[in-house]
Symmetry: C2
Amino acid sequence: MHIFNTVSEMQQWSLKERKAGKCIGLVPTMGYLHDGHMSLVENAFKHCDDVIVSIFVNPIQFCQGEDFEDYPRDLNRDCMLLEEAGVNAVFAPSIQEMYPNGYSTTVEVSGEITQKLCGRSRPGHFKGVTTVCSKLFHICLPDKAFFGQKDAQQLLVIKKMVRELNFPIEIVGVPIVREKDGLALSSRNVYLDNEQRQQALVLNRALKQAQEAIRNGERNPNRLKDNIIQLITTSPQAEIDYVEVLNGEDLTGLETLSGKVIIALAVKIGKTRLIDNLLVEV
Amino acid sequence: MHIFNTVSEMQQWSLKERKAGKCIGLVPTMGYLHDGHMSLVENAFKHCDDVIVSIFVNPIQFCQGEDFEDYPRDLNRDCMLLEEAGVNAVFAPSIQEMYPNGYSTTVEVSGEITQKLCGRSRPGHFKGVTTVCSKLFHICLPDKAFFGQKDAQQLLVIKKMVRELNFPIEIVGVPIVREKDGLALSSRNVYLDNEQRQQALVLNRALKQAQEAIRNGERNPNRLKDNIIQLITTSPQAEIDYVEVLNGEDLTGLETLSGKVIIALAVKIGKTRLIDNLLVEV
């Protein structure tokens, strides 16, 4: 497995592989890999000849006061896991390599799709995401890139950016991977103590309750929302950031549930902000 | 010569050519071609196997009250010239094809480099330029792209964007082409009547005078500027937008002339805004 730390080495390798006719899959990550990431890698191997995994904790997608410095990192362990999985190349650049002095270029998707949900709670977050993904796409030159459905808004924003800037890349969304008890995998789960880990189950429980209500005919987004809020509020350490029921394609509001619907949650358990979501076809 | 009007046709063609090992050169234009554009095409053929010329009057790089609607257009004549020159493909999309309903993604280079000169006179202009160039680069997939030195600031901004977003593309600057009497070629020159056409010569005359002064030892940017302003003001229909003497690499200010220096002018002759510049190694 190649481990590249510089843009030019990574880009040269990808150009060479493309010239050789290889189909390249990219899995962009911030490292501290879990089974959710490994599911992205597996999916990438189903569709592509070569798989590149990028590992970069991207400073510009963290807002002031967020956990950029504390974000968990373990590059050696990550590389071992990826080598076992048969990954062809890891791209692990430094911050200076990605954002040299005087750096000032950004890519931004504006409008409702980035203003709602995490966009409201984390101003500038998606601009950081679209900027770093544009760079990673140019550096790794994938035919396909794989993103987890857990970051549902991120997936929609990146799809819109790729479509609108005409990147010659297919974006593939991969289903959420959960622990046996339903908690969505996240690198941030390590922040939770035992008590918080139990309380964190309320996110998935609330989504399942909503799914059940829809199955039983509920079509009113506000009632659905209220019931979710009510359930989450029973957890003493849970503090709701948002609970939204929206159009699953463009995140616009809904008068009544129909078509592709997303139920999206962000909840702080203690100091740890967790997100989860459910896509339903109504 | 292929003439493509849709993103997907153009992109498919470029992907096929790249797979065949061809080196692709792109000349992005707004059409109404003159010898300046044809010099870009010639240069592209020196470096590349295939040459694509894009023709698109990009609405988002025009500011309110500018000449987007009046900008001269003649696609048939342009295509005849390009066919004669041996160009392989023309990309001439509609506005709707480039900016479909709901479009909201932009690429921006911020900082001094886009705030000065034309960036000050034309707010939003460079954001429109970097956005459309990002799209054209993804659609046409060139190895090299060719831009005229006449739009000196545009060339620097695009080079910075390409470097910072890691596009796998080389940007090549091509010297200004001038009429015999010194007027820099521009599609906007057709706006000038005979009298204005004569007065427009003052731009090049001022640059030549400055060049002469530097040759004679002038190293004070302000004195240089004042002399240029004085000369231009003798033309009754000339109204100065800016006259600047700056670092030719990053457009920062200069205390004294040294290294790569740019003298850049924007002057309105009647209603027509003309730009010209001179790069000197001091």
